[in-house]
């Protein structure tokens, strides 16, 4: 039996044990997101503009993540609007940073991965990098937006010390999730650098390292932007009615 399928079935079992019938919805939402990410890759390889594809598919991913995981419309609505606003700003930021970073494609450390491949494939790796930066952050944006929107809707906290503590906590835990999430992938690269005794100046200019670290930094920036934006949207809705 295929290992991935077996792992997926095990996850479904765990989800149903913990979430009941709703566990199936969670798994379907994960599968839809996965399918959309694979579709993105196929469309990019098929010659569509990577940035346009990732923005369009990104909207769909935000919608599935937010509306399938959050049944209450007064929580999901503001979270979705806030995510869209942040995404619009974030696309610009990612394009700007990756224009200057020169980290598209592969580094010297990727040599083994590239063996036997033609790399002159006529698709802009610069734009694939922008797509990667955007897609890897969408989950975190959606998660933070839901957390803020749900927190403000249930606790009915008035703006003030209690609320700012809650927002800070959401940012703190989201940073942990992202930090360790990316660090997991980083660990092999760090061991590589240490084993081959790269100097500090080599590391902070290294294509792979700078590319990956910029992705983490940008993702954290996106999450921090999401939290006050969502709070602002929730409050302006409450004021209106």
């Amino acid at each position: 039996m295929n290992a991935i399928l077996a792992l997926g079935l095990a996850l479904l079992t765990l989800l149903i044990l913990v979430q009941g019938r709703y566990g199936l919805v969670t798994l379907i939402s994960i599968l839809i997101n996965l399918g959309l990410m694979i579709l993105t890759v196929i469309l990019i390889a098929g010659g569509f503009n990577p940035v346009v594809v990732s923005v369009v598919v990104g909207l769909m991913i935000l919608a599935t993540t937010i509306f399938m995981n959050q049944a209450k419309p007064d929580v999901a609505g503001p979270a979705f609007v806030a995510s869209l606003l942040v995404m619009a700003v974030f696309v610009g930021l990612v394009m700007l940073v990756f224009y200057f970073s020169q980290t598209a494609g592969f580094g010297n450390e990727d040599g083994e991965t590239l063996e036997g491949f033609s790399t002159a494939i006529g698709v802009s790796f610069q734009q694939i990098l922008i797509a990667t930066g955007l897609m890897s952050t969408l989950g975190a944006i959606a998660e933070a937006a839901i957390a803020v929107s749900a927190g403000l809707a249930t606790n009915e906290i008035q703006p003030g010390a209690g609320q700012s503590a809650m927002l800070a906590e959401i940012i703190g835990t989201a940073i942990n999730t992202l930090f360790f999430g990316f660090f997991g992938g980083f660990s092999a690269l760090f061991i590589w650098f240490a084993r081959l005794s790269y100097s500090f100046s080599q590391i902070i200019n290294n294509k792979v390292f700078v590319g990956e670290l910029l992705e983490v930094l940008l993702a954290v920036i996106a999450v921090i932007m999401t939290v006050p934006t969502t709070a602002w949207i929730v409050h302006s809705r409450q004021r209106r009615g």
């Binding site: 290992a3 990410m37 993540t65 790399t119 006529g122 989201a174 997991g184 092999a188 290294n206 920036i221």
Partner: protein
Amino acid sequence: MIKKYWRWLLILLPVATFLAARFDAPLYSTPVAQVTRVTASASQTETDSNSNEDRLITQRVQARLLNGPGGTIALTNTYTASQALDFPLRVGSQIFVTKIHGQYQLKDDKRDAILLTVAMCLIVLMILVLRRHFWVTLASIVINTAIFLLVVHVDISNQSINAWLIFSGLAIVFTLVTAAFIVGVNRLMLIISGATVAATVLAVALGYAILSLTGYNGVHLETVKYVTQAPQLLFYVQIVVGALGAVLDVAGDIAVSVYPQAIGRRDKFRNGMAVGRAVLGPLIGVLMMIFVAGTFAEAVLWLRNGNAVGQTIEWVMGLGLAQSLISAFGIVLAVPLTSGAMAFVKQVDA
């Protein structure tokens, strides 16, 4: 005056960082140059064996040496339009160069300025949004990074110590430190850490069992990247470290929201489960998207080199998929484990 406008002064920090990094060439021992003029001298179309068309562009570049002897140098840079392994030079780009047979050649781009500037932008944003919580968050990141670097150092300098043991220890220390920063050093921290460690251990054990039973069918450990030691070790280290933040997030959310409630054991468990159920879906999504988006460049490369979609998914994404599924086990398992521990702790309190 300063007190009133200090927030505006913060904006100067990224600018100052950028300028400092643009003028740090004297700190480097390798020659650094700044591009002063670029002329595209030739452009030719090339087609590979899969009939992918790309353009090969040659630039004639004039640059000013920023360290060492100084002076103006000339070099050529050839890059492909798709930029898989190379990049175009622009006026103002700072680059590392080497001198071979009296002729300067491009070595690599100097990327410290963009990296440090973005990092400083993040710090300023954190100060503005987090206010007094800023220092706690920053300290947590700095301390965890320091611990990680220390452990990597121990791992490579001590071949005699079991690497599995070192990284298991690392995961536990990460958990304790991060939990302490979330809730302070108290009983709650121990509950959150305990639940996180237990959930992660169970998740990895379950994942290991399933992978062993299926004989890693469809999961190719040889595709683990940047391998310098046993790929299997790196595979599991990546899962444990990668999942930690998300598992801690679940455990922390449950513990913090249930702790102040003065209700019975059974209700505490039920409320904890409700909090956990609400947060786990998006968190699994966060990790899944980080893992899968990271494979985009390689996946497109595979597809454009004439590989089938199924094959590309299996070889490029298979590993990351397995890792994010096992991480998801941890996130889901943390919900009953933390809720159970919270129900139990009330009894001890009473």
